[in-house]
Amino acid sequence: MDFSLSLEQSMLCDSLNAWLADSYDMASWRKLTASWPPEPSDTWQGLADLGVTGLIIPDSYGGIGMGAMDLHLVAEALGRHLVIDPFLSTAVLGAELIIRLGDEAQKQAMLPAIAEGRLRLAVAHAEKTARFDPFRSTTVATATDDGLRLRGEKMVVMDAPLADRFLVVAQEQGAPVVAIVNRDAPGLTLNTYRLVDDRAGADMIFDDVPAERLGAATADARKAIDAAFDLAAVFVCAEAVGAMRAALRLTIEHVKSRRQFGTEIGNFQALRHRIAEMQSELSAAEAMSLGAAAGLSEGKQDRMRAVSAAKVQCIQSSRYVGRNAVQLHGGMGVSQEVAVGQYFKRLIACEPMFGDIGHHQARFASLSGRAA
């Protein structure tokens, strides 16, 4: 057991943090989120140049082959800076699905491209008729001579407006399948919109869209999707931890600078205690999130239990930290002009991703041994 950073991890964090401080300060963030529809920015190439888009991609496919703990560090840093690049969609969920499910040709075609920053993906999994269960998909894939055909609808596909290709979770004769769809595929319609945290999303309609199956027809797509979603959920937890840390820091700076009734408002004991409780929530979320990252390499039962506990804890902590960060900023907390509100919205956006508090509490309960 070792909680300290390895040399490799320290170097990764240092270079990433330096780049973020430079390229992703609040002013840059505001510029990046100002225009609509969103345009690909050179921040993506910046992340690729740092190696992080290939973080979990094996060396043999041009990545650096690091693990979940390393990804946790990266996610925290990205969350601290409210990064809006399609990192989760491409370098985490997309890459993991390809690694777990793709055939050799697909890996060769896509993984190095992700590592080098040449490929952006979006993963279409949510549907109006299924709450958080990707296997309740009503999007149907039909096998034809030259691949698959897709019919159905997906909603809130994060990063879709920026994606070069899509990975679509569908069902083929009742079994889950992941289909690769090109952006310019005939029959594909995108309705794009901002997400609440100023990332980009879209609803997608598939009207007999040609697609390619990810991996062999015999592969266990269910298992791969389950594992990839758990990795993605931990990424979201870590991102929330980063966002909480930044929101708390902004709040402390605010209460220490703002004066009322002749003193810094940070001196009022009720606010001091609130700050302390926020730190306590952040610590609990961070500890559990790291624990879940470690748990990803355990057996399925332990993995799912740790991930669900982390998601619930992180949502609860996010709510406490986010709400109080806004509250302690006073009126300016609800203004777009002040950064804290953006962190609040990122934390809100993290809630439903890969299962909300109700979903994961129920999953945790179903996995718990009720020992005597």
Binding site: V156, A270, G330, G331, V334, F344, I348
Partner: protein, 399 residues
């Protein structure tokens, strides 16, 4: 003690319900359901309909052109109004609820005649200027000043959170007219047209990407002597006069009752497992807990309404209503967002128009924006922390 509504009250409720059923336009109901910020033109139309019925100002006495209703009648009216999806009255500016009572209580005959009928008819749209940057709950520290110059006052300063000032044609504000007395004294109450030279309104976009808030700058704004309301130096006490009633309104008990109905609707529209979220025991438990909190808040609200009618001033209850009411607003709007799942992430204020068919069901439209904007509910009108301070003072003074 008899805590039941009388038969007269029940008849009154039926009268209100019938009127709203017939006269509240469907487009306004829909707008009130879907979005937090409503176009001023729609509000003016509605104000004219209310005025034709004689209900333009539920809280005013008859002689000022109001209904003369008791507080309990207003409570009933508000409940029916909210359950019918009536738009938030404040979307019509601060004329009826804030400046009206100040004018008919402290204004001269001439001021009343000039302003009150225009408010009733929806002709004037009023913005308020109380808060200042950096002052927060410490209202007495305000720095905007008004200096007498011949027959005029010259106002210079900076206000913040001037709701809807960009729609308003009239403005009221507090300014310091005597810097040499203790902070709460020496503050006076002014009203004037917002297009008076020297007034600059700058929008503050809130985190829901909506525009209802503003900063307002006053650069040697010259207004005539009769812009002063009541006595010079008494502005602070007039403002305090408003606060108790405002806290009651801010608690939004009836509106939250409607929000809870909407929440059931959303839950019923959201698939979950084999059924809907409204069939998910764990989620239902969360709604039920909020319904019970609402039930006790309704009882508290009725008591405060009765006390108002009896002339009993209960400062503790006003703070408790504000405190609990705004927390409940936030819990209900947060749970509404939770109900939406992924669909809540799609962010599309009406003015954005960036998509065709929203992923969230009709019942959930506007709920994310509402939740975001209402983070401010525990901040405006005296923050929760301020209410707790006030409460503790009152409690300690008793023991």
């Amino acid at each position: 003690m008899d805590l039941k509504l009388t038969a007269d009250h029940q008849r009154f409720r039926m009268e209100v319900r019938a009127f709203l059923q017939e006269h509240l336009p469907e487009d306004l109901r829909q707008a009130a359901r879907r979005q937090f910020h409503i176009a001023p033109e729609m509000m003016r139309r509605w104000q004219r309909i209310l005025n034709a019925k004689g209900w333009a100002a539920p809280g005013w006495p008859v002689e000022a052109g109001g209904t003369g209703w008791s507080a309990i009648q207003r409570y009933i009216y508000d409940e029916e109004y909210c359950l019918a999806d009536g738009p938030l009255p404040l979307q019509m500016g601060h004329g009826v609820q804030i400046i009206g009572p100040v004018l008919y209580t402290y204004g001269t005959a001439e001021q009343k005649a000039r302003y009150l009928p225009r408010i009733l008819r929806g002709e004037d749209f009023w913005a308020q200027g109380f808060s200042e940057p950096g002052a927060g709950s410490d209202l007495a520290s305000l720095r905007t000043r008004a200096v007498r110059d011949g027959d005029d006052w010259v106002i210079t300063g900076h206000k913040i959170w001037t709701s809807l000032a960009h729609h308003a044609n009239m403005l009221f504000l507090l300014a310091r007219t005597d810097p040499d007395v203790k902070p709460q004294k020496g503050i006076s109450f002014f009203v004037f047209p917002i297009d008076t030279p020297g007034v600059i309104v700058r929008p503050i976009i809130s985190i829901d990407r909506g525009h209802s808030l503003n900063e307002t700058f006053f650069d040697e704004v010259r207004v005539p002597a009769d812009s002063l309301i009541g006595e010079e130096g008494q502005g602070w006490s007039y403002a305090k006069f408003l606060l108790g009633h405002e806290r009651f309104n801010i608690a939004e008990i009836a509106r939250t009752k409607r929000r809870l109905q909407r929440l059931w609707q959303i839950a019923g529209d959201m698939p979950c497992g084999e059924g809907t979220l409204a069939q998910d025991q764990s989620f239902c438990d969360k709604i039920t807990a909020l319904e019970i909190e609402l039930a006790s808040l309704e009882q508290l609200g009725l008591r405060v309404a009765w006390e108002m009618d009896e002339g009993i001033s209960n400062m503790q209850s006003a703070s408790i209503l504000k405190l609990r009411g705004t927390r409940l607003i936030q819990s209900v709007t947060e749970l509404s967002v939770e109900a939406m799942g992924y669909a809540g992430l799609a962010f599309h204020p009406a003015q954005d128009g960036s998509q065709l068919s929203p992923p969230a069901p009709e019942s959930a439209q506007g709920k994310m924006e509402e939740m975001l904007f209402l983070r401010a509910a525990t901040i405006y009108g005296g923050s929760s922390e301020t209410q707790l301070n006030i409460l503790a003072n009152l409690i300690y003074a008793e023991v």
